[in-house]
Subunit: 558 residues, 2 copies
């Protein structure tokens, strides 16, 4: 048997940024080369055909590649949308997403990172966030974020002529360089932080005691010495808006004003209206567009703030899921009206499993797969994902090859004609899955996923077998439990005794390759900076909150 050797490029040290050009191959993780060695020739043939399809599409589309509308939903688990059968199991309906599923392709084995920020970093950069210090999620003021040197999908698409807009959740840091309008988007409207602040850690959340560590709470605070230990979410910056590489402005908050659930609802409504408006504006231009719409709903806080429950399920998140589905339907209808349905790729997906913390009041508990947000069991990292591209992607199809959200970076860059903009000086985890989209089931180019919980490698999937690494201790991998994901979606019945040590040995080698590659391309720190710099109208309480933060992270070490 032929001995597999990593190609020279895989072993090379980082090339300088100036050497980035189309003749320099993308730097991959080791596992990709294992597959490329076996299938590279076939892939090259397919790619030639794919190039012809894309060229044909562009010829029919005024020379433009397709528009891209990417809708990323927060904390929606596998089976929560896009299927009438699963709708029945849950007791609510998602007709708009079901329609997109019927008109497009379900990526049935789409993996994400186990929580919001890492998944979003993975999509934007095509890199596992463990590589760029963004595997962790900050909920409070934190002074870090997506580094400027990271190259985002917005940047590479912008470089080839796309108009780029981001609307909604971002949550990639509270420092300026991390914000979407500094990361390649021409225009952005987004909250600096996330729904922890916006729905739970505010006064309404305090009233219902859905969170601890709040500034105001339902008890006598006579023993409280340290007010800074608690969060005052209203002092944190809320929603901001701005254009590319310019300061942003906070909107809809006056100095001294308190954040409420009602304001959160309005923020959601505003983002939906802005998404609709941007769709109209972008479609009127000559260039293609990339509209990145990341709704904050279905995540919602106190139960009492929803007026009416309109599903048999009656969960808080479910109620907002139904609303978001309606909004997605509105966007699709607007696209029909604008005549851009046929030249726009629409992707709808979740960013990780649903948040089990609020089960079952949310309406969601783990269902098909075990675990939820935060877990590296399948329930934490498997999501519903649908791609519609009329006339190019076959409608009403289901593909069962493994994909990971990082792949969308590479795939959309390729379809947008922006592959040359992908940096060549760092590992790109995203794999070009255009062949899967165009040719269908079994045309995927990935048979593995590395699953990190923040910075700890907790599980590895290869084919349909999953290795759960005990305590994250990689040297024990050979002794670890394996699960057969088709036969046992809930990872409850280890098949280790069947697969045996030979399977373990293969997994250990796979992990060793992955780690060896990291020695060549080490994980890096995130961007660091002063929180909230670059906001023109910072409220006095926000200025004070930053001072408190700086004192807390600085002084105690003195």
């Amino acid at each position: 048997m032929k001995k597999l050797i990593l190609p020279a490029t895989a072993l090379a040290v980082s090339v300088s940024a100036s050497a980035q050009a189309q003749d320099v191959p993308i730097v991959r993780d080791a596992e990709y080369y294992i597959l490329e060695e076996q299938h590279g020739e076939r892939w090259a043939t397919e790619d030639t055909e794919i190039d012809a399809v894309i060229a044909e599409f562009k010829a029919l589309n005024d020379g433009n590649p397709p528009n891209i509308l990417y809708i990323l939903l927060d904390d929606v688990g596998f089976g929560d949308m896009g299927s009438p059968t699963m709708n029945a199991v849950r007791g609510y309906k998602t007709p708009a997403v079901n329609q997109i599923a019927a008109e497009g392709m379900r990526l049935a084995r789409m993996y994400t990172e186990p929580s919001c920020t890492p998944t979003r970093v993975a999509f934007m950069t095509g890199r596992h966030p463990v590589r760029n210090g963004m595997a962790n999620t900050a909920v409070d003021i934190s002074g870090f974020g997506l580094a400027d040197k990271e190259v985002t999908l917005a940047e590479v698409l912008s470089d080839v002529g796309y108009n780029t807009v981001h609307i909604g959740k971002w949550h990639l840091g509270d420092i300026r360089e991390a914000w979407p309008n500094w990361q390649g988007f021409d225009y952005a409207a987004f909250p600096i932080h996330q729904q922890g602040q916006l729905t739970i850690y505010h006064d309404d959340g305090a009233d219902e005691e859905v969170a601890i560590s709040l500034y105001e709470n339902n008890y006598d605070s006579k023993y409280t010495l340290d007010n800074w230990f608690r969060s005052d979410a209203s002092a944190m910056v809320t929603g901001v808006e701005g254009v590319r590489n310019e300061n942003v402005r906070e909107v809809n908050m006056e100095p001294g004003e308190r954040w409420t659930e009602e304001k959160y609802h309005q923020m959601n409504v505003d983002y939906q209206e802005q998404a609709m408006e941007q769709l109209r504006m972008l479609s009127a231009k000559d260039e293609p567009f990339f509209l990145n719409y990341w709704p904050l709903y279905p995540i919602v806080g106190p139960r009492t703030t929803t007026d009416e429950y309109t599903t048999p399920n009656g969960g808080t998140y479910v109620e907002k899921m139904k609303l978001v589905d309606e909004w997605i339907g509105d966007l699709m209808a607007e696209m029909d009206t604008l005549g851009i349905t046929d030249n726009t790729i629409v992707i709808v997906m979740g960013d990780n499993g649903h948040a089990t913390k609020f089960s079952p009041q949310s309406g969601f508990t783990p269902m098909l797969y075990r675990g939820g947000k935060g877990a590296t069991s399948e329930g934490g990292v498997r999501v519903d994902a649908f791609v519609r591209w009329p006339g190019v992607i076959e409608e009403d199809t289901v593909v069962n090859d493994i994909t990971h959200v990082v792949d969308l970076f590479t795939t959309l860059a390729r379809i947008g004609g922006a592959t040359d903009g992908i940096p060549r000086d760092r590992v790109i985890d995203g794999i070009d899955q255009t062949s899967l989209l165009l040719n269908g089931d079994t045309y995927g180019r990935r048979d593995y996923v590395f699953l990190y919980a923040i910075n700890s490698l907790e599980a590895v999937v290869k084919e349909h077998i999953k290795l759960a690494i005990p305590g994250g201790s990689i040297e024990n991998a050979i002794l670890a439990d394996f699960y057969h994901l088709f036969r046992d979606p809930q990872e409850k019945y280890p098949v280790s005794t069947e697969i045996g040590a030979w399977g373990g040995a293969k997994f250990v080698r796979m992990i060793e390759r992955h780690i060896k590659r990291k020695a060549q391309y080490p994980d890096e720190a995130p961007g660091l900076g002063r929180p909230y710099e670059g906001i023109d109208n910072l409220r006095p309480e926000s200025v004070e909150a930053v001072e408190e933060y700086l004192f807390m992270v600085g002084t105690p070490q003195k």
Copy 2:
């Protein structure tokens, strides 16, 4: 608020059999009257419209009601067929059943009894098998079965002119009166027992040690005194065939011959071929038909007897599930050829959750719902169920009202014009769900299910709330755990503290009504008799096995 009182008929003592006539109402369980009191008027209006629809169908169908093809699959759990999404989760495909789902209606909340025999009794009689002594399942020679006095769907349909044929699994007892050709079927081909004998307790099963208590096993039997303690499945009667109310003959087994997995496979192939042949013969007649086809596959025994694994799942049951799906596709294609697709109701469903005993080698583990065959958690009693009636039942629909397999008895009798034949001297649990089939979601007439494990009431479902009775002790029901089945399909997060004692009180009252009704219509014993009487060509070893059985059940009590 109006006080609910059970109507007089509900409190009356049993009417004599001679009084059975169409003006005597069907005797119901108490819960039905609670609903009828609230919705009876609306139901009557709907029923008038439904009668018109059925009359119109008959007018267009030479005066005949529709043919009925009922395909009941063994040990196939919820999500195992009929959905491309769930196919992807499991790693195999069921295109034929998916097609039936697309052309018909998914009954998304179809409940069964928790195992094979009880579910089949429920379908045939419209009664929970606890009422007629058939809630238990015998795997060996047993001398009991479905009593002659039970009135089956085959009998009531036969009485109004249907030709009736049963092919495949029966498993309602090894005494003559229990057999399909004595229970209303003009012709029947079936094994007396079930797959325990046919796939596990035979010599191939012994070789692979998939079962204990076998006649031959892979050890030195020098300490064995009692050969009768072990089963010799080859001595038990296997498949028989016969016509109505006449003796049957065992087929494909000579005296002294051993049963093998190969013979089991051939039995399955034969039943499929007979189902195809019967379809052709029945469709050529002037009368409508009821073809009851209950495949033995996907249940299969030793892993080594499958030559080739052709799905990514690779499970033993999955491999046969794929085969059964192909066979169902063949039946559907044959119906098209025969021109009977439009005047035939096709129902495909499972009989209980998949058998978790052989997980994950079977390819099945609990998935959407917790538990499997034998459990009263949803995983044991929720099944995939699809009904196709072209032009009458709307295609590609999903209804989420509660249904139970007993309802098919009453519903199919009504559609077949045989309601008058339903006996009036016993409780009929089956509810007429024709309105649900014809009018769709929310037109169901049942909001409850009583879930028995054999003869013990273990759980009660009312609406989307499920009460799990601790240790089957009904007086503790008020303290029991409730589950919200939409939000928590796996019954892991009790919401008892939310629903509180008021919910418990309602459930207790519901159970009390159910028990009070049983005092009026007590549970009865099954039919009893000498095993295997009525088989013309009983093999000598079968005669001997019966003698051993009679000695064992008789002598020790002397």
